[in-house]
């Protein structure tokens, strides 16, 4: 049986999925990149509840002191974590967040334009 090539191993802060069915909930954890996603981590650094609550908020809790310590020690960050830290103001905003925001805005604009056109058409029909 051919062996898989060895991957480079380093510490990383990333999300571990700890929800139930149809109810995602993430832990922000420090682990080795080669370990399974939900394996027992070295350290838990926070949580992320990706389902908005009744106040339309997504809750993120961060152990800032520890995260700063690990950042100083050159620990890698996964993209979602970078995104969260960027939104939280701990790091600069992640570039992809801007892009996604732009795309969303474009979509929204298109949708509003569509509805406006529809409305206008309806108006013209009515007037006719």
């Amino acid at each position: 049986m051919p062996r898989l090539p060895q991957r480079k191993s380093f510490d990383i802060i990333r999300l571990a999925l700890h929800g139930c069915t149809n109810r995602p909930f993430y832990h922000i954890v420090l682990t080795k990149n080669t370990r399974p996603r939900d394996a027992p981590p070295f350290e838990q650094l926070g949580t992320f509840d990706s389902m908005p609550n009744i106040h339309n908020e997504k809750l993120v809790s961060l152990d800032i002191e520890r995260i700063k310590y690990h950042l100083a020690n050159n620990v890698a960050l996964s993209k979602p974590v970078e995104k969260l830290l960027g939104l939280g103001g701990l790091l600069p905003v992640f570039p992809m967040s801007y892009t996604i925001a732009k795309r969303n805005r474009k979509k929204m604009e298109a949708a509003t334009n569509d509805t406006e056109e529809h409305l206008q058409e309806e108006d013209t029909e009515k007037s006719q």
């Binding site: 898989l4 700063k68 950042l71 100083a72 050159n74 600069p92 570039p95 892009t99």
Partner: protein
């Protein structure tokens, strides 16, 4: 792959036939290709369409990424400096603390030693005193014993001196011998109830014996 799928289906079919005895024997087995198997025949010439990239977006993203990475590196650098500052201070503080603790410990040890020394001196002087007392006592006892012994010896000496008057010496040896010989007595007798001595009927025997002894002594 197709064959293996068929096999699984067949298996499941057969097992479903067997499932007259209400036992759930059907188990869904999702087939996964092991890594060492070649690409499936249907996908042999499949090429994934690359995700379309908006050139405008891409350009913006690239410049943003560049800036982002530089910033993050700067932040990390800053944090590292902060951390090192903190650790340095903690290290210095630790050293200071250790020095202080060592000084304190020294002080304590000195105090302890002082205390021990005083108590030891006290104890030793006491012990010396006791030893001296003991020695004196012993000496006294010994002197007493010596005195006692000398007294006893003197007593014995006096006794001996007193008894020495009756000693037999070379001068009075003959005399004594004569005296002894003269004071010979015959015990071969009986005593009556009243204490009268009844001399033997045959004194010759004793006399003979006496004579023999005298002869021996003379020879």
């Amino acid at each position: 792959m197709a064959s293996s799928v068929r096999a699984i289906v067949g298996l499941s079919f057969r097992s479903s036939c067997l499932s007259r005895i209400n036992v759930p024997t059907v188990q869904s087995v999702r087939y996964r290709k092991p890594r060492w198997l070649p690409i499936a025949a249907s996908k042999e010439f499949y090429v994934r369409k690359p995700t379309p990239i908006d050139p405008e977006e891409h350009e913006e993203l690239e410049s943003r990424y560049k800036h982002y990475r530089a910033t993050v590196r700067g932040i990390r650098h800053y944090l590292r400096q902060e951390l090192s500052k903190k650790t340095v201070t903690t290290k210095e503080k630790q050293e200071l603390d250790e020095a202080a603790e060592f000084a304190w410990m020294e002080e304590e040890v000195k105090k302890w030693n002082q205390m021990l020394a005083t108590s030891r001196e006290q104890r030793q002087s006491e012990e010396e005193r006791q030893e001296e007392e003991r020695l004196q006592h012993v000496m006294q006892q010994k002197a007493e014993a010596r005195l006692q012994r000398s007294l006893e010896a003197e007593k014995i000496l006096q006794q001996n001196k007193a008894s020495a008057v009756n000693f037999v010496t070379t001068e009075n040896l003959e005399e004594e011998i004569e005296k002894m010989l003269d004071s010979r007595s015959d015990y071969n007798y009986a005593i009556t109830k009243t204490g009268d001595i009844l001399p033997g009927e045959n004194p010759a025997v004793s006399e003979k014996r006496d004579q023999q002894t005298v002869k021996k002594a003379n020879t």
